[in-house]
């Protein structure tokens, strides 16, 4: 039975060869903890995205610095109607206001995402997941290897069968960037918008350039995460949506080709 973290086991030599041998059991493509945290995070990210957009609609203007409001010049404005009358968007109508439940769900989903992320990060550090599966090798980072990977992506080449068992260098770099740059940034900028959090850690706001800068950076980091999600989905469709999604659920790589 394949268990979490078990090493690949070979077929027992003492088995009578006449009996059809069951498929060789190997370590799962994705560890159980990676699969569980992946799907919990997927759900909470979706909740954060939808509620984040809802909250944004109540004031679709962005500023840089400490303060910003309708009397201040905006750094940029999202061209959508607002859910509040305070912002004159020029559209002549006001969208339904959904901030109450959106804020509650945003923070609750934020807790789920952060706690799940912490569990994943601890696992990644101590079980060697980051080192073994995500850290690119020296050879991977060579100019030739990188350009070959970029070229193959630009051709939209379908991944080879071998690639179903490990991440290529671009994937590794993208995942590391999301895990160690974008997610910490989106958490930091989110917390910096909390007046109470800022009272304990004032530098968390001043380092970002102020409360409104934190809000603007929170938006940019969220958009970068959304972009990552879209590319992630396109890649999964190109590689075979059923098989890749199935692998992230069961941990097993399907050997046969998918039925049309």
């Amino acid at each position: 039975m394949a268990t979490l973290g078990s090493a690949p086991t070979s077929v027992d030599a003492s088995l009578p060869t006449a009996i059809p041998v069951a498929p060789i059991t190997v370590a799962p493509r994705h560890a159980l903890l990676v699969r569980i945290t992946h799907w919990i995070f997927t759900l909470s990210f979706f909740a954060l995205l939808v509620t984040g957009i809802e909250i944004l609609i109540s004031h679709p203007r962005f500023y840089w610095g400490e303060t910003g409001n309708v009397l201040t010049k905006a750094m940029f404005q999202i061209p959508i109607p607002s859910s509040r009358t305070l912002v004159q968007t020029g559209y002549g109508y006001v969208l339904p206001d959904q901030n109450g439940w959106s804020r509650a769900l945003h923070f609750q989903a934020g807790w789920v995402a952060v706690l799940t992320g912490l569990l994943y990060a601890l696992y990644g550090l101590f079980a060697g997941h980051f080192r073994k599966h995500l850290l690119p090798t020296k050879a991977d980072l060579s100019w030739r290897s990188l350009s070959a990977a970029v070229a193959s992506h630009l051709r939209f080449a379908r991944p080879t069968a071998a690639e179903a068992h490990s991440y290529n260098v671009l994937q590794r770099l993208a995942y590391l960037f999301v895990i160690f740059v974008l997610l910490p940034l989106v958490i930091w900028t989110g917390l910096a918008m909390s007046l109470a959090f800022a009272s304990v850690f004032p530098w968390s706001v001043t380092l970002l350039g102020g409360r409104q800068s934190a809000r603007t950076l929170h938006f940019f980091a969220s958009m970068a995460l959304l972009l990552f999600l879209l590319v992630h989905l396109v890649m999964i469709f190109l590689a075979g949506f059923g098989s890749r999604t199935g692998t992230m659920i069961t941990g097993r790589v399907r050997q046969t080709k998918e039925r049309p």
Binding site: I55, H59, R103, Q108, L195, A198, R211
Partner: protein, 251 residues
């Protein structure tokens, strides 16, 4: 099943038991130390409770960020329902007969005039007021620390919350004692060196710079000190959760 999975089963069973016991102990301690918000029920209760408990543990004595005079922004009054005739009569009289009544778990229920409030030691801070919508401005706020008034009336030791009412009966809020006794929590009557304009909540506005704009109720005329918020409104703590917003607005 194999030895290994039996061991796994026992270990998971023990872990689950420890987990449930741990949760029970955590719930008891959280309630004892006032870490459970009044709106902890419902679908988003766990998130509200986690946020309130964490921030209450972290921020009991922390001070809201204060700014320099040069950072004061052109202030923006928030939207308000039309002022009632009753309010307009007070305004026409220059708020001379405006009273702030303080009652509930206090030794001496008292009614203060604005002039009395202004005669007490004042505190000034230049702080940011932020709306849950996302916008913010910085202003100088002048007022009497709420703790000073609470000391005058003698708050009883088992008090846990201060409920505060606007003259508009639909607008009432409450805060825990950590916020009520916090040095920056003001009964504000001045702004940017002048009288607090009506558009910003004059004659008296509750000003808690560590919580969002909607907790900073305008036109305050009544405080009730209590140990139990269940008796107020729908029992969720204030008008905000009745309208779908969090009672605790530190985030």
């Amino acid at each position: 099943m194999t030895q290994l999975s039996r061991r796994k089963l026992i270990v998971s069973g023990l872990a689950a038991t420890a987990g449930v016991t741990g949760l029970g102990v955590a719930a008891y301690l959280a309630d004892k130390y006032g870490l459970v918000p009044p709106d902890h029920g419902g679908l988003y209760g766990p998130g509200e409770t986690l946020t309130y408990a964490t921030q209450r543990l972290l921020t009991r004595h922390s001070l809201a960020r204060e700014f320099s005079r040069s950072q004061i922004s052109k202030p923006l009054p928030n939207e308000m329902p039309p002022l009632r005739d009753e309010f307009k009569r007070f305004e026409a009289a220059g708020f001379t007969d405006w009273r702030l009544s303080v009652e509930g778990l206090v030794d001496q229920p008292t009614s203060f005039s604005v002039a009395q409030i202004k005669s007490y030691p004042s505190r000034t801070h230049i702080t940011e007021i932020a709306c849950e919508e996302g916008w913010s401005y910085i202003a100088e706020w002048i007022g009497t620390p709420l703790s000073h008034v609470l000391n005058l009336v003698g708050v009883q030791s088992h008090a846990r919350y201060v409920v505060y009412y606007s003259i508009d009966p639909e607008w009432w809020e409450s805060m825990d004692m950590a916020d009520a006794l916090h040095p920056q929590t003001l009964l504000a009557y001045g702004m940017n060196g002048e009288e607090l304009p009506v558009g910003f909540g004059g004659p008296l506005r509750m000003r808690l710079p560590r919580q969002l704009g909607y907790k900073n109720v305008k036109f305050i005329n009544r405080l009730v000190i209590t140990d139990n918020l269940k008796r107020f409104g729908k029992g969720l703590g204030s008008a905000a959760p009745e309208a779908g917003y969090a009672w605790y607005a530190g985030i």
